[in-house]
Symmetry: C2
Amino acid sequence: MILEIAKKAKIASYELAKLSTETKNSALISMADALEENTEQILEANRKDVKASEAKNVKPALLDRLILNTSRIGTMAQCLREVADLADPIGQIVKTWTRPNGLIIGQLRVPLGVVGIIYESRPNVTSDAAGICLKSGNAVILRGGSDTINSNVTIGKILNETAVKSGIPKGAIQVIQTPERSVVQELIKLRKYIDVIIPRGGAGLINAVVENARVPVIETGTGNCHIYVAEDADLDRAIDIVINAKCQRPGTCNSTDKLLVSYKIAKHFLPKIITSLRNEGVEVRGCSQTKAIVHDVIKATEEDWYTEYLDLIIGIKIVKDIAEAINHINKYGTNHSDAILTANFNKVLQFIRDVDSAAVYWNASTRFTDGNQYGLGAEIGISTQKLHARGPMSVEHLTTTKYFVLGRGHIRE
Amino acid sequence: MILEIAKKAKIASYELAKLSTETKNSALISMADALEENTEQILEANRKDVKASEAKNVKPALLDRLILNTSRIGTMAQCLREVADLADPIGQIVKTWTRPNGLIIGQLRVPLGVVGIIYESRPNVTSDAAGICLKSGNAVILRGGSDTINSNVTIGKILNETAVKSGIPKGAIQVIQTPERSVVQELIKLRKYIDVIIPRGGAGLINAVVENARVPVIETGTGNCHIYVAEDADLDRAIDIVINAKCQRPGTCNSTDKLLVSYKIAKHFLPKIITSLRNEGVEVRGCSQTKAIVHDVIKATEEDWYTEYLDLIIGIKIVKDIAEAINHINKYGTNHSDAILTANFNKVLQFIRDVDSAAVYWNASTRFTDGNQYGLGAEIGISTQKLHARGPMSVEHLTTTKYFVLGRGHIRE
């Protein structure tokens, strides 16, 4: 059955690659309207999912990820409209040049073909991914988590029906409806039909995909993010930034999990920031030096430094200098988003160059790592690998190029 | 032991990322000089490899791939000098923009980190890959075929010693010297230390890597290439192009394996082209329609249409129209290099858009798919996948970007 879905997607992809920008945009706008017009139907499906998760006592931060409301559906629709507004990358001639022998060589931007998205929780991924794949001329196969299956199937059905009415080929947007996990294992091996798999979710999901896929994968999303507060940081602003980065939406990958603090300011800064964090309900775990200053923090284990909490928990470590901070981040981090707070520009340059992450921040919250926040329109995921795309991915990241070479009977000497 | 090599490469990669363009370029030029100065030593090692292969009776086209001579070593040195001449992509600010909230966002070009190259035969890969990886700030681990182990180890030793003398960190260029195949299996799973694996060689090697790797792979090289001769092609030029594409160096991936001919010109064109091919020693296999015109061609099997011959063999098929030609190429080809010969520009556009290959040609030999021929400098391989890079890959294709985000205490609303 998965094979049939994949074949259908491949056939659709050849047609999608030829569609005009106008056809794609008008479909996207109709899809946005359809989401808003069918808000009540989507909310009804979502309520089933929320109830089921509440019955399983999932953590509040995780529950937040799957809840829809009118405003969030409005945001989903708005994302589709923003994608419609983005330039169409397909058909763009990236560059051309002429060789001394007269051969004209160029690069043409084309869709990847068929994109498989495997995700957990957030149902807005269903429409964001469908929109970005459509705009970039790709067919998409969507496989969401079982905890949002009702929301995803309903959203997928609305989007697909609207798209087909707008002239998009059948098979361009497909949501896998079966809950069996084995379908994912099958899907990620279909190299002949699927051009890329993008997993979005926790470390477990992503590792399972990376370990078993034969289709090329773009690794996304695991975010064990750090903020390093240097001795010369503006400490009042530092408190605002840390609280925002940890608490504004703790279930997201770009929320901060670890705070690294210069030993020079630790005695002064740690009591303040720990009080502020606890006022927001954050559980604080610290290194032994942190415990020596604020005695009642929980002792952090070695495993803590590797962990993405996705919850109101933070780990605090005192470091000697920027070099130790950078080494710690490169060793324990997930190459996602990391920030330095400092008034010293040399430290900024060193941190940006040497921290091996998709997004590196100066005096700002890590929560900004997001396609919309970057102005890319909706986002298909945040790549934490180095190949193909790194950081928030949008329409252009779902394309590739081909060389075209124009001769006049050229043969190689 | 492989783990130690990988760790050493990772450590070197952090230092490589900080090197100045001048240091890298002067090392490359010294490495080029060292190859030429040690030509006799390299040829001596190469003679051992050639003798061993001759004793095994390998095909002439394959033997040609592993033979070195003074001229080919000169070409290797020249490639290193050309790489030195190329712009250094590292440190380039790809773009910057400012968000309405005042956040400044930019993309900085940085090395991938550690590149693993697994290749067969051609010993020039050793120096080409080492040069391109060095210029792009990457550490490289090279694993050539057992049939060129003496050549590779000698070339690697000369390059590495020269590089270290020029200020390049130890561990930047490493050639794996053990012949056991199990080392490759180990190497391609070291996700923590290796950022990308590039296999170069036959379909067997590439599939073995793709099937077993956990490190991201850039698939390269298998080239079952086609030329489609439309009814309006200049048939005299067509003969020159087909002979060049098939015979100029038949052991290479970009040589043509299949000839698709419009039925409208088949009776006239096939006897001529088949005579020309046979004059060059090419074995001709054909579809039943081809056999009906030139009776003594060998009947092509279904498997023939899928096969990259790497030898003086060609398969010929008569097709109804351009749509059949495109469908045949997309079904049986390897997404490498395919050409149309025609005087009809609409057909050119259709062929370029719809043939799903890394390089699509009009009125030129497929043999041009090559980094040097494209003016990219030396080439690290020809990607036949769609992610990250497609077609001939050079220095820029071994880089990635990171986002840097500059704030003034920005928090997310």
